[in-house]
């Protein structure tokens, strides 16, 4: 056991930090928020630094690393609320293609992702209010015979992160009637197709825009089907676990920064003739922020490790991560606003950027409540088998 980041992980974090700082740090996110598209240029640089290749297997020109490595990097990305579909591409799409893809699909997508030529996202929801898996409704009608099979996708996906800034979206659709995840198949859909159109939604988090993706009778061949027909559900669940852990890793990095901001302000800002950080109302609130951040970070590392190692409790650990971190990290950002008094309640103070990100993630891919439900079921099953 050595439950720390390795020296290599720390080096990556350091390099990433220097790089993002040199590009303007959180101003990248602010520019994106102000309506500029910083993703295209930024992505090329991320690719130059090989970040897009991290989770791509060695034989497809990648580094063959897993969630731990990625989480270490995403922590730094989260500190700057870095725009771009890095979690979507590296934590969700690449592992799905790696694990489910045919040789042809892998060599079609993975080396291009590694090179930075291909960005990916994932489309699960068909309804903004219906939780998963019920929220997966789009049908994909199967046509033709063996060898000439085609699928016709029809419907509008919603809450698709960065759809307009990505080349391929992995779409969850139903190929037959079924309960829950049964009957769900996954398709790799190219976004530049005429039948596919992305419309920007009014996302709470302007740094990470969401899109509606309308698919108007798109016919794709069997080579777009990722993994078993009707049987994409369990891989999708694992992919969403990776997504949640990756997203939480970003929030942990942001929370680390929020603690720093509170400590800086608590030391500099004086009221009543003394630094406000000396008042225990502020000091203890900040200590609690740190404890919650460290706890969430510990869960992220554990879950990332368990996912990489295929540990039997990997899904449970991912559920625990989301269940624990979603509201607690959200509160960390809110507490940072409060620690800054009136200054905290301004557009200029960074906490609102993080706060909105945390709120956007909260129910996405499963609320903490839904994850607590999963967690208990998994725990009970594990106890029965003990």
């Amino acid at each position: 056991m050595d439950a720390r980041l390795t020296d290599e992980h720390e080096r990556v974090q350091e390099t990433a930090r220097e790089f993002i700082e040199s590009e303007g740090g959180i101003d990248l996110a602010r520019r994106q928020i102000d309506g500029e598209n910083v993703v295209d240029d930024l992505w090329n640089e991320l690719a130059d630094l090989d970040y897009t290749a991290i989770t791509v297997p060695l034989e497809y020109d990648g580094f063959g690393e897993g969630m731990v490595y990625l989480a270490a990097l995403l922590e730094v990305a989260g500190r700057y609320a870095l725009p771009g579909p890095l979690p979507e591409t590296a934590a969700v799409a690449v592992p799905l293609i790696r694990d489910l893809g045919t040789e042809d699909q892998r060599s079609r997508f993975l080396p291009s992702v590694a090179d930075g030529d291909l960005r990916m996202s994932v489309a699960v929801y068909d309804d903004e209010t219906e939780p998963l898996p019920g929220g997966i409704r789009m049908g994909a009608e199967r046509r033709g015979d063996e060898g000439t099979t085609e699928f016709r996708l029809e419907g509008t996906k919603t809450l698709v992160p960065y759809a307009a800034e990505t080349d391929v979206v992995i779409v969850a659709a139903r190929t037959r009637e079924g309960q829950g995840y049964d009957g769900v198949s996954l398709f790799a859909v190219e976004t530049d197709h005429d039948a596919v159109e992305a419309t920007r939604m009014d996302s709470l988090d302007w740094a990470r825009p969401m899109y509606e993706l309308s698919i108007d009778g798109l016919t794709v061949g069997e080579d777009a089907l990722l993994g078993p027909l009707h049987g994409g559900g369990s891989a999708l669940v694992t992919a969403m676990d990776r997504f949640s852990v990756a997203g939480t890793a970003m929030l942990v990095g942001a929370a680390d920064r929020a603690v720093e901001l509170s400590v800086e302000y608590g030391t500099e800002r004086e009221q009543y003739g003394q630094p406000i950080g000396r008042f225990q109302a502020v000091k203890h609130r900040t200590a609690d922020m740190w404890v919650d951040m460290q706890s969430a970070r510990s869960l992220v590392y554990y879950a990332a490790w368990a996912l990489d190692e295929d540990e039997p409790d990997a899904a449970r650990a991912a559920a625990a991560t989301k269940a624990f971190a979603a509201d607690r990290l959200h509160r960390v950002f809110g507490d940072d606003i409060w620690n800054h008094g009136g200054m905290g309640f301004t557009w200029d103070h960074d906490a609102h950027i993080y706060l909105k990100q945390a709120k956007s993630w909260r129910n996405f891919l499963g609320s903490p409540e839904a994850n607590r439900d999963r967690l208990i079921d998994a725990r009970l099953a594990a106890e029965r088998n003990r």
């Binding site: 950080g277 969430a296 967690l375």
Partner: protein, 401 residues
């Protein structure tokens, strides 16, 4: 990064598990229950510790030359997991084993080690820790119990200690007294090993909310300690206090909390209300899952800390996080467990298992206070981990600092 145990570490676990199967007190593995009667319980626990010591499982973290196993921090973690798994009886001399002996090993004289360590291990001599006084609790450095040289290599001790756990059964006291009051409060303190069996010392048990009497007032009226019972240097007792507090911060109770949670889960699976198992109620599931996630977070954080400490050698102020999280987690969990009884929450005995919840929940209020209150842990995190400005008046105050 690796959260798993090596084969070698797993074999440590197997060895311990096999030993416990053989040597746990009669009937314990089926139905863990301590004797009700106070005196019987003390005897039972002394016996248990002796058994542990004979098997080499009392002070696993002590160096081998003093009867320990030189267990690494990771092996100590495994030890805690396994002991929690069978709800093992506590070691009656836990203060001696976990705090005082490691301090003596680090700063004691060779003669002190030879004289005291074996009997700490076997529970032949039980120890208490005499720090707190009526006017010096969190701010322990302001203590006033005095020790003065009385010639012939003797010291005379006068004053009062309070909340001293196990003083009523202890043979020895690890006492901090003021030997010089001319300087600041952290100067002029000295640590002594004081024999409790003297007329000049009287103990008065204090009645606690859970209807037990595990701590005491202790009065010193010209009590004697000899020169060779001074730990470290005279007037340099604060260093010794710091050494000991590092060991206090190095121990975690998260594994026994986890076991308690698993017991509660089992209870919720089998217990019904209006014909429905508790575990099927959404409200119950949500709370249990939140505890589950908090426990997993605390365990993973503990493993990260242990890994760090394996390299740095010293537990950092991060230990405050473990104490704080564990104390509040235990409290919330036991509080919830009582609430689940329904109307029976109004009763002391509500028949779950040997560790009946009601008194455990009340006891958990004491745990939040005992090793430095939650407030003090938050001060330590705010000031020492995060570097926020210190309160002028309480600059380095508690023994945990």
């Amino acid at each position: 990064m690796d959260f798993s145990y090596t084969d070698e570490q797993e074999s440590f676990r197997r060895e311990l598990r096999a030993w416990l199967e053989e040597n746990a007190p009669d009937g314990w593995l089926e139905d863990p229950e301590l004797p009700d009667d106070d005196a019987e319980r003390v005897e039972f626990l002394r016996d248990w510790q002796r058994t542990l010591a004979d098997g080499g499982w009392a002070g696993v973290h002590w160096p081998e030359e003093y009867g320990g196993r030189g267990a690494s921090l990771i092996e100590q973690t495994i030890y805690r997991e396994e002991m929690a798994r069978i709800n093992a009886p506590p070691q009656i001399n836990l203060i001696g084993i976990n705090l005082i002996a490691p301090t003596l090993i680090e700063v004691g004289t060779e003669a002190q080690k030879q004289r005291f360590l074996p009997k700490i291990l076997s529970a032949e001599e039980i120890w208490c820790q005499g720090y707190s006084e009526p006017e010096a609790g969190s701010d322990v450095a302001s203590l006033t119990t005095s020790a003065e040289p009385a010639g012939d290599g003797e010291w005379r001790i006068d004053g009062q200690k309070i909340w001293t756990s196990y003083a009523h059964v202890a043979d020895w006291c690890f006492l901090v007294a003021r030997t010089d009051d001319s300087g600041t409060k952290h100067e002029g303190l000295t640590a002594f090993l004081v024999e409790m069996d003297q007329d000049a010392i009287s103990t008065e048990p204090i009645h606690q909310p859970h209807d037990d009497r595990t701590f005491n007032q202790v009065y010193f009226d010209d009590a004697v300690a000899t020169d060779d019972r001074v730990v470290g240097e005279v007037d340099q007792g604060w260093d010794v206090v710091m050494t000991l507090s590092a060991f206090e911060h190095g121990s975690t109770s998260i594994y026994s909390i986890e076991q308690r949670y698993l017991d509660l889960l089992e209870y919720c699976r089998t217990e019904t209300r209006n014909g429905t198992p508790l575990i099927e109620r959404d409200r119950v599931r949500q709370r249990l899952a939140d505890f589950d996630a908090r426990i997993q977070a605390a365990k993973a954080a503990h493993r990260r800390n242990v890994s760090k400490q394996m390299e740095t050698g010293t537990p950092g102020p991060e230990g405050s996080m473990d104490l704080l999280v564990s104390d509040e987690l235990r409290h919330d969990l036991l509080n919830f467990a009582v609430n689940l009884r329904g109307p029976a929450a109004a009763l002391w005995e509500n028949g779950h298992n040997a560790f009946d919840d009601t008194s455990g929940y009340i006891r958990s209020y004491g745990a939040w206070i005992a090793a430095g209150t939650g407030d003090i842990q938050r001060n330590i995190i705010g000031e020492r981990v995060l570097g926020l400005p210190k309160d002028d008046k309480s600059k380095t105050s508690h023994r945990s600092e």
